[in-house]
Amino acid sequence: MNYYLRRFLRVIVTIWAVATFTFALIRLLPGGPLVQLRAQLIRSGASPERVETLIQSYTKIQPDAPIYVQYFDYITSLVQGDLGESISTGRSVGEVVGGALPWTLWIAIATTILVFALAIVWGAIMAYFEGSNFDLASSSASILAASMPFYVLAMLLIIIVGYEFGWFPTRFRIDPNLEAPVFSVAFVGSALYHSVLPIASMVLTGAGLQVLAMRGNSISVLGKDFVTVARLRGLSDRRISITYVARNAILPMYTSMLLSVGWYLGGTVIVEEIFTYRGIGYYMYEGLESRDYPLMMGIFLILTSTLVIGVFVADLTYGLVDPRIQTGDQSESF
């Protein structure tokens, strides 16, 4: 079967499996969401019939229908993009996610790009000055950064940069008092300003490992004979470092970069909560606290799908980036 088709089917199957898993979770967990929800609604003083209708609309569960009908309905509405009704916000999950996703994507993508830009430049410089004091200091700093959880750094940044110095805002996506139209200069400026600390906390901790990876890759490429030959031809150092060393050193990092987007998306759950940054991570946490299962399931599905699609893109494009890999069975990049 065609390789691309097979990969694509695998993506579909993975997402379907996750959807099925969430479906099962919402029904099978002992003392799970349904009981919780029912108790919650009854406590709020709704009549039993009203409770049943509410539960149905929230969770898309018709308790009297057979399980396969319920499953079919659930999947059908998923395919149509209907993720159900959020209990805590009273809006549809799709609406909540739609409003929050761009903010989270911005955080995750900006983090990934910055991490790798920093790693590639810094790691390459370290490799060139291998063994120098600069290299030693940078390696130590990288290890320190890599071993610090991003939420700890986030706290430190809030305390020091946010409160002590007051340089950057410590919460919200934009200034709540700002009354500027979306995509105006003031709006974008405020958005960027507010995202500095969340992004910084993930970049500074995430870059550590990647810097070391780039350093290692570059050192190994620098030791290759073709670099010696290029040098022997009298090519400039600059030319050698860019066209010969950098390209070959960056290649192996390509996959981990695409996978990182998923990883940083997951990381936003905590970061956004810390910074009260209303992205999907923040809503996931809110959903967890208020036992808003439909919201949690919806966001869970979105996060998983993003990761799966990231891997898929990495797989499809790796052959283009690295000519040694030909699309085929051995080209799976994870």
Partner: protein, 352 residues
């Protein structure tokens, strides 16, 4: 190019010492000096072949790299057409040769062909690079034609097919041919072939050596051929009427024409190498002509003649005095046994 008797490349009393500084966590602050190459003088003429043989760690690769200007000698000089290349590089030379000329004139073929080609470039692009540098006047199609004809010349047919491949799609021998072509396209005067055929399949080695010899005449270049296999060294050197230099612990023990080195070695160490090469030893491998197998530490080489700890002929004189080089036409040996009047003959034999 005229053959006026000046060597293309001449090494004079070359010395390469590596300092091994102690690491941050190692105690003591003594700097260890590894004497990789010590007092070696070799001349490489036009269309010459100089082969360096010796066991691992004897400094033959370091010497080769020093010869083509990849490694700066800590003592002595490396002269290209009579001018010190490091003076040229530092701008202290009044020669009309630039560092760029030196760089293009001295090329290399590595042992591992897989590592010597950039994995992300097609053969065409790899070979176009040196052409771009040496002949910037050539157009695209002309370049392509030259590359294709060279690929055909080195036996890679059909050439257009090979030109569009990536290095990983070639066999080791084919990769080595590309590396050879790349070196030749620079139009060099000297190519260092550092164990260039060791990674090639045994059955293809002779073919590869023949190819190198044929191309040597066509491209008017010299080879410094490094090998640990005396029989390959003999084949390659004898066909080009070159010299084999035998290295031991950073020093040149003996250098001379191939057949003389192989058939009538004057240095006891050369005899050991000959014994260790099955194709050459006439009798069944007999008693090893050496007292010890272990190579001494190059950080602290033995006094006097460096081979005296292992030499079967060693006498007490060898422990104290460093043997000078005795020359006989083209054959040079660093061993007291060449001098019939030396104290060596009077001193008692060393026994362990």
């Amino acid at each position: 190019m005229s053959d006026d008797g000046t060597p293309v490349l001449s090494l004079e009393d070359v010395e390469v010492h590596f300092e091994d500084k102690p690491g941050l966590l190692e105690f003591g602050d003594e700097t260890e000096v590894v004497r990789a190459v010590d007092g070696v003088s070799i001349d490489v003429m036009e269309n010459d072949v100089v082969t360096l043989v010796g066991e691992s760690g004897c400094g033959k690769t370091t010497l080769g790299k020093t010869a083509i200007g990849l490694q700066r000698p800590t003592g002595g000089s490396v002269k290209y057409r009579g001018h010190d290349i490091w003076d040229i590089r530092d701008g202290n030379s009044d020669a009309d040769i630039t560092w760029r000329d030196v760089r293009t004139s001295l090329q290399i073929i590595h042992q591992d062909p897989g590592s010597s080609l950039n994995p992300n470039r097609r053969i065409q692009t790899i070979l176009a690079e040196p052409l771009k540098q040496v002949r910037p006047d050539l157009g695209r199609t002309e370049k392509r034609e030259r590359i294709l004809s060279l690929l055909e010349r080195v036996g890679m047919n059909p050439a257009p097919d090979f030109a569009d491949r990536y290095p990983h799609q070639l066999s080791g021998g084919e990769q080595q041919r590309v590396a050879l072509s790349r070196a030749l396209l620079m139009n060099p005067d000297v190519i260092l072939a550092d164990e260039a055929i060791s990674a090639v399949d045994v059955s293809l080695r002779v073919e590869m050596m023949d190819l190198m010899l044929e191309l040597q005449a066509e491209f008017d270049t010299s080879f410094i051929f490094i090998s640990h296999d005396l029989s390959n060294a003999r084949y390659f050197t004898a066909h080009a009427d070159g010299q084999i230099g035998v290295m031991y612990l950073g020093e040149l023990a003996e250098i001379g024409p191939a057949e003389e080195i192989v058939n009538s070695p004057k240095h006891p160490y050369t005899n050991v190498l000959r014994w260790a090469t099955p194709d050459l030893s006439l009798q069944q491998t007999g008693e090893i002509p050496m007292r010890k197998i272990d190579v001494p530490d190059p950080v602290d080489p033995p006094s006097g003649c460096r081979f005296h700890t292992r030499c079967p002929e060693a006498r007490e004189a060898c422990q104290t005095e460093h043997p000078p080089t005795y020359s006989d036409d083209r054959h040079h040996v660093a061993c007291f046994r060449e001098n019939e009047d030396h104290d060596y003959w009077e001193s008692p034999k060393l026994t362990d």
